[in-house]
């Protein structure tokens, strides 16, 4: 099992470590629910070094990326971050990623579990550009939560004296990170996977541990957060997780991710024809959100029933710390009415599922900016 450069730090902070995406990662430090609430109400720090950080180099990275990504890469502005899918010819999803257009280069952040699969795939399909894998040399940590901007701003210097607060949502820029007593060159983006305001910070891996510790020392309101709450936070925020809502057997249209697919973009991309077809015909199944009656969460793989017939399957489910009830996402037959009575097969019980619009949780817009 691989370890991130922050493995020692996790042990020092009392993390319970589990395998995720081939890495030994903290699932929680104190308790999942407490860490979840910390991010919703204050601020939490996450180790994201397990994710893949790829630089795209070549004569024309824009054209090269536009042929392999669903998103209209050419229309991205400098400093913009975009969510995109990487699809196969049949529209099946190889990964969901973030594309970063820095002033003078392009980066991709990909899922930990898909790093090893994507490298040869890009080598084969990315024509006119190639990937440099910086996952080991560049660290990635996140500070997420409504207090993140206020706590971090005094420690981040941006070009032309711009403050951290002026960095927009899904924007990225160069930054000098003054957290450790030594100014560190790096990048900062206003991104996350929690449904809260927050930042992802990129510095050389040799400084990862000191930055991680310094973030935790910013205030008593900050605490280390594991992947357990990252999962409940993203589920509440209606964000898909690869291996759950997304896989090579699912497509972004059925997953409700059409916003991340430039169906009409001028550069033909891998999977475009298949996705156009699914879009035109309408998907046969649809990802929907539910609350589960009672207290027992529905987990991935549980069958969804309508009038005793299996009409779908749960992709993710968990108690929702914010809503206080179990929530779930799952694919069901698209022909089913939104209010069709559904149950979920949990073995001895088949509690009712109540349709809930996605996302389950939306942050108060006033908290940002």
């Amino acid at each position: 099992m691989k370890k991130t450069v922050l493995n020692q730090a996790h042990q020092r902070h009392g993390a319970r470590l589990v395998e995720f995406g081939g890495f030994e990662m903290p699932v929680w430090y104190s308790a999942l629910t407490e860490e979840h609430h910390a991010v919703r109400t204050r601020a939490g720090v996450f180790d994201l070094c397990h994710m893949g950080r790829f630089e795209v180099v070549g004569d024309d990275p824009v054209a090269a990326l536009d042929r392999v990504l669903t998103r209209d890469v050419a229309s991205m502005k400098k400093g913009q971050v975009c969510y995109s899918l990487v699809c196969k010819e049949d529209g099946g999803v190889l990964d969901d990623i973030l594309v970063y257009r820095l002033p003078d280069r392009w980066w991709l952040v990909v899922n930990a579990g898909n790093r090893d699969k994507l490298l040869p795939w890009f080598a084969e399909h990315l024509t006119g550009a190639k990937i440099i894998d910086h996952s080991e040399s560049l660290a990635m940590v996140a500070l997420q939560g409504p207090l993140a901007a206020r706590l971090l701003a005094p420690h981040i210097e941006r070009p032309k004296g711009r403050s951290l607060e002026t960095l927009g949502y899904y924007r990225v820029g160069a930054a000098t990170v003054n957290l450790t007593g030594t100014p560190l060159p790096g990048w900062i983006s206003r991104t996350g996977y929690t449904g809260e305001d927050g930042f992802e910070i990129y510095v050389d891996s040799e400084h990862a541990e000191s930055v991680f510790d310094a973030l935790l020392q910013l205030s008593d309101d900050v605490q280390p957060c594991g992947l357990g709450c990252r999962d409940t936070l993203r589920l509440e925020a209606g964000m898909p997780l690869y291996g759950h809502e997304l896989s090579e057997e699912s497509d972004p249209i059925s997953a409700g991710l059409e916003f991340g697919v430039g169906l009409n973009k001028t550069t033909a991309f891998i999977g475009q024809a298949a996705l156009q077809e699914i879009h035109t015909a309408g998907p046969t199944r649809q990802l929907r959100g539910f609350t589960v009656e009672g207290r027992r969460p529905a987990r991935q793989g549980a069958s969804i029933l309508h009038e005793g017939r299996i009409v779908g399957e749960v992709t993710s489910g968990s108690p929702s710390p914010t809503l206080g009830v179990p929530i779930a996402c799952g694919y069901v037959e698209a022909s089913l009415a939104e209010d069709a009575p559904l149950q979920v097969d949990l073995g001895r019980q088949t509690p009712d599922l109540k349709a809930h619009p996605l996302p389950f949780y939306r942050k108060d817009a006033e908290k940002v900016n």
Partner: protein, 127 residues
Amino acid sequence: MSEVPQNRNYLSSHEWAMPEDDHIVVGITEFAASELGELVYIELPEIGSEVHFDQQFGEIESVKAVSALNSPINGTVVEINSALVESQEAISETPYDDGWMMKIKPAEDSGMDNLLSPQDYESQLSE
């Protein structure tokens, strides 16, 4: 190191069995409870149902995942701790006491000879 009481025996999957009058009380260890983290749900067997040594008798669910509960003994369920259905806190707080899960009337061949002694279970934990 988590507590391992000397007055009961253990299954390697972290359940304990303790004789009490004519019955055997069953629960999970402090180590198991702490590994599971925050509990949200428990499914216990019905009274009168049979349980079998090292076979699943129920499920316990933490905020993160579902785990099987295995019976340390062959026998018949005579009582369940129904308070746990409402709140599983007792399992996390006093797993050897209020966190008990079921009481079993042992079968003739109870299988209990196969259980680990407290010392053996302790050494399993320290491995």
